[in-house]
Assembly symmetry: C2
Homo-oligomer: 730 residues x 2
């Protein structure tokens, strides 16, 4: 039986954890002095128990930190048997270089002390004190002063308003938390100190260990992207978990998260996701794109594991820190009772976790191991009278099946069940396979001793089958997408960027921040999007000539900076078949503008090649305040407007992202010819999405954009942007 401590580095290696083994390199980032200081000053260290300055010093000492500890407090000479210095400058002069300062003094004094830290050569600081941005206007001013001082001196600053941090291998507990986490392979960052304390409490009970534990509070300097950048290369970090309320720099976060998940699982619990808020926006995309959509897209694109709830967060940490990643295949369910087996199978279907299909060899072996009334197929029911040996045999058979990638073992406490013995059997079998095995012991007091055996053996246990399935489903999906990693590389086309820069500048120079018509189509054309042939006509005669040059049939549309919804005022004519009709159409449109919007500036009529046999889709872009350019896709008309049947990704996107965007909308079958029509050119849609992604990534000054409609012709015949609008920055 494997006796290693779950969550410890040892067991992490033994069980083939994610985060492949690599040569250990001393940390080299600017965060190194935060996590691995050789000396720590505690500024505001206090004698009185109950004071935060006391708790922090006490935690550093009791935690077993081996570096130099330098209490700073002008009012005392000695603290906890250590010499106490009047200031950090004194400490550095008398005791040698100070790597890290932990600051626990009233907020108004902190910026000044940060200056002193700079003078003393301090390299990193943790500001535990509250009373900054979170406390209102004055606090915000203080926080700015604080950051300025830290930046001036090149000090990496954690906080303010945080619980502090804990590093596993050097036993540095620079927090005022009530307890110390166990050693292990989990790294945690949290924007809420209170959540940290709950997680600590939970982890001690569940024997989950941490190598890095960071509360970053207001994250005035060090933020989630800094930590990801550090931790993804840190061999002591097996999995990264993050509780976030906002993301400081969405685009950087996306890059760092994407790089992180290639090596190790990244679990995110995000608060405030539903607080989308209705924004006033003139485009379709703007009105449909909320912060929740952006966050969901970010999780999807970075292959992060999203925790839907706090419980889910714990479950995901528990499973990823203790079990290897599943390979290709489905899940096997092993149970000693029918009801929970069915509930588990139901949950698998709901969570899209495929039940493994057993080979005939597995079934025949199982037939010899299980009595007649049992079920040999998935979920395998080994009956209420199953003892350890039947569990052991069935587990061995399942682990040998090629389609079994993971195993859920359910136990209900029945008359003859040997609960501890079965737990020991599961631990033994799990150690003999590289497939994840999780327990689901149902009950409380009766099964507690068994769960304790699982815990000590590093087998995650879930109190309810649906939770086991929910966690495992996310892990399966993560592992699968990690195997397909290269599909998610952003792509880049050769484009005429200069032309676009000129066009945008020209428009801005003229005071026009809304770009439409031929100008918008021109910008898109520069990025390789196909647009119908077209020309501006200022008179009936010009319209006829343009139509003849373009080739019939043509479409005529009013051109006016004041008219947004052209069809509402009868500003569009389709199916214009000859020169005479083109002339008439021009006159009709001009008359319609005069009648319906007499104050509109009439610039003429656009004469355009008519694109037939096409289905209408919309591509849009809005700017998310955190993540930047948010790309939207949907089918035209009611699908977007009434059914809100749209999908989102953050630019830049990969080809796989673009394909997924298309597949995600419920109306997708309308593009594939499901009703007997010719399939639409979905390749052209993917291409258009990618080119739009590149355009708005290259030009952050495009705030909003709608390609509406993009006319998609049948397979192989391309897609044309029939109309487009953009909003640019002033």
């Amino acid at each position: 039986m494997a006796a290693t401590r779950p969550g410890s580095i040892t067991s992490a290696k033994a069980s083939g954890k994610p985060g492949r083994r690599q040569a250990y390199q001393p940390p080299h980032s600017r965060l190194a002095p935060l996590f691995f200081p050789e000396s720590v000053a505690v500024i505001g260290a206090a004698r009185e128990p109950g004071k935060v300055g006391h708790t922090v010093l006490d935690n550093i000492i009791q935690g077993g930190y081996q570096g130099r500890i330098l209490p700073v407090n002008p009012k005392v000479d000695k603290l906890a048997g250590l010499r106490c210095y009047p200031s950090v400058v004194d400490a550095a002069r008398d005791a040698g270089p100070v790597d890290l300062a932990v600051i626990v003094i009233p907020a108004p004094l902190v910026p000044g002390v940060m200056e002193q830290c700079g003078d003393a050569g301090v390299r990193a600081a943790i500001v535990v004190s509250a009373g900054f941005r979170e406390a209102g206007r004055e606090g915000l001013v203080l926080e700015r002063e604080l950051v300025e001082a830290a930046r001036k001196h090149g000090i990496a600053l954690l906080g303010p308003n945080c619980l502090g941090l804990i590093t596993g291998e050097n036993r540095l507990n620079a927090t005022f938390a009530r307890s110390m986490p166990l050693p292990g392979n989990v790294a945690l960052m949290s924007q809420s100190g209170a959540l940290c304390t709950s997680i600590l409490d939970w982890s001690v009970r569940e024997l989950i260990g941490f190598s890095r534990f960071v509360s970053f509070g207001n994250k005035a300097d060090v933020d989630e992207s800094d930590l990801l950048s550090d931790w993804r290369r840190d061999p002591r970090v097996g999995i990264v978990s993050a509780y976030l309320e906002q993301v400081a720099d969405g685009q950087r976060f996306l890059r760092e998260a994407r790089l992180t998940t290639r090596r190790k699982p990244l679990i995110i619990l995000k608060a405030g996701v539903t607080d989308a808020g209705a924004r006033a926006a003139s485009s379709h995309t703007g009105s449909l794109a909320g912060s929740e959509q952006a966050y969901r897209a970010a999780v999807e694109q970075t292959n992060s594991l999203p925790a839907a709830t706090m419980e889910d967060f714990f479950d995901l940490i528990s499973i990823t820190s203790q079990t290897p990643l599943p390979g290709k295949g489905g899940v096997a369910v092993l149970t000693n009772a029918g009801g929970p087996g069915i509930l588990t199978a139901d949950a698998c279907e709901k969570q899209n976790l495929r039940l493994a299909s057993f080979s005939s060899r597995t079934v025949s072996r199982m037939a010899r191991a299980v009595p007649g009334a049992g079920n040999l197929y998935n979920p395998v029911d080994i009956l209420g009278d199953a003892g350890n040996s039947r569990y052991l045999d069935a587990l061995a058979i399942l682990a040998a099946d090629r389609d079994v990638a993971s195993i859920i073992v359910i136990l209900t406490p029945q008359a003859v069940t040997d609960i501890k013995g079965t737990a020991a059997a599961i631990v033994e079998r799990a150690a003999a396979t590289r497939k994840p095995v999780v327990g689901c012991f149902l009950g409380e007091e009766e099964v507690e001793a068994g769960i304790e055996v699982l815990r000590r053996g590093g087998i995650p246990n879930f109190r309810f089958p649906e939770r086991a399935v929910a966690a495992l489903a996310k892990v399966h999906r993560y592992a699968e997408r990690r195997r397909e990693e290269k599909l998610f590389e952003p792509v880049s086309f050769r484009v005429r960027k200069e032309q676009v820069a000129t066009a945008l500048d020209f428009s801005r120079g003229g005071g026009y921040l809304h770009i439409g018509g031929f100008q918008a189509l021109g910008v898109l054309g520069s990025y390789g999007l196909r647009v119908p042939r077209g020309r501006l006509a200022k008179s009936p005669a010009e319209a006829a000539a343009a139509a003849a040059a373009i080739g019939f049939p043509v479409v005529l549309k009013v051109v006016s900076p004041n008219i947004m919804h052209k069809s509402d005022i009868s500003g569009i004519r389709v199916g214009v078949e000859d020169e005479e009709a083109a002339r008439d159409a021009f006159e009709d449109i001009q008359a319609a503008v005069r009648d319906n919007m007499p104050d509109a500036l009439f610039l003429g009529v656009a004469v355009q090649q008519q694109i037939d046999d096409a289905r209408e889709v919309i591509i849009g872009v809005a700017r998310d305040p955190q993540f930047g350019p948010l790309l939207m896709f949907g089918l035209g008309g009611i699908y977007v407007e009434v059914l809100k049947d749209v999908s989102f990704r953050i630019a830049p996107i990969s080809r796989a992202d673009a394909r997924q965007m298309m597949h995600e909308v419920k109306s997708y079958p309308l593009l594939t010819g499901s009703r007997g029509e010719q399939p639409a050119d979905t390749g052209a849609i993917v291409d258009a999405l990618l080119r739009c992604s590149q355009l708005v990534t290259d030009f952050p000054d495009i705030l909003e954009m709608d390609l509406n409609p993009l006319l998609v012709r049948p397979q192989g015949q391309g897609a044309y942007v029939a109309d487009a609008r953009m909003v640019i920055t002033p």
Copy 2:
């Protein structure tokens, strides 16, 4: 502080639980001898510990049952100090009437023993033994014999293959469970014995008490509807919880469940819900209607509380058994930490649980109770340094706000938090209000003592905020719908039922089980659905005459029992404006049939009044094997076929059900004129749904039915069934 035991009858009354107080009446149903026997025979009682026959006898004795206990075993004279009888007949003769027999002998002997029970005058029996239907063909034969014997003698039979039952007030534990539940107000029925043992274990730890605890195994006789019928009138049952795999008689279950939820909460955990299975069905409705849809409709229509997972099941039992029902209003969240507060607010938004809007008085009172950096609005943040008294004050302020219908109190263990004291404060405050108050103490070891205080005070605690919200959201919804109860009465129209009976008989007599065209429209017309004027024409001349009589424009459609999809073979002409055109259209259709389906039987052409300005919707019916007639609604064409945008209810439905069916489809805004059109006559849709519901309830021999399309004219102008098909039983 309220010191009553949570879940006990006492606390149920004290805290104003659901299930109003009523005069206690002795149970009068045929189930009375099961729950309240004056004497119990244990047939198969055994001396050897570990044997089920031993455990059952021991549980009855140890449980404290006060009636006569009569062990039956021909091999021994005495058992556990009691006289043992060779047979139940002997026991009845020597010891007086036997009310209940608990049978724990090998399955093949059970039918014979049941006969003996009948001879001995036994009134109810629990068959614990396994080896019946669940064990295959031979077991099924045994089970039939068993049921036959029980029915012959009028014995109420529980099981076979079950754990047994427990009744609270007479302390009857007729099970082989490992432990006895606490006394309380919860009634549980479970189709899985293993689940019962897990629930028992959990409930003992959580101090949740039971008045009725029933494992009904194969439910060969007594089933969920019998128990509902009994329990809804039983004053000792405050809430009903049920784990079900199948429902024996869906229509009866619906009636009983509807009656139950008017008085007390009914919580259902259903296994096998996703096992819909793709059925071969000729109608749209048939192909879209699965058992999951039927189950969801059943839950919705009966106002049951659906448990999504086992955990959810426990949570719902915990909250409904301990807290009063919320009145009108939203939830207030009280927290000592920001992060968990945001997570809770997020969860409320996701679960559609409205956050209460505080009155200005509440906000100003809160401002006096909470320091400056706190948040006075919902969620209220009373900060990390909050002690008991701040919790107490804030709770009192929230409880006094009119819009606060329920309160979630979050506690994170921070440096100065008095965990037990705060828990005591919550218990005290909760006792002073009739609004539900639930705790959410985050953490494990640190908060355990506080959670224990809550438990003993009858306050449900949830380990995670999202769980508290999920449970509370369902309870709010239940209470709200219970207030609106009368909206959910089925309605009934005056119809011409005889005409339909004749038409169906006529069709069946002719061997036609598929009914379409005028015949189907005739059936619907008899139930008051509007159909376009129409006539069958057998020649071009007849078509012209029919069209003239009906009035132009008309539609012509092929009539043939072999042609299901008329438009596929060009069998429809619309917009026929005069007699000449009608004649031509007839000939065209006849030619199209000859060309495309030469073997089809051509019966003529239906000439129909053309309904203009209409939107197409579909109403359908399929038969669910458990629940019966499943009614479907959706918009026509792609909305049903591609987007599967449909809703379901089980007939008979109420007016409110019909309205909800319409509102549930995503494309509903297309009916309300959201895009500038005239709103459709949604009242006519409701009317049509109700009449269809009545039709298929009155005629169970209609297996499937599609009204496709129902043409809905603008507001006030009605809806017309343009075409319909039915499948009837042979």
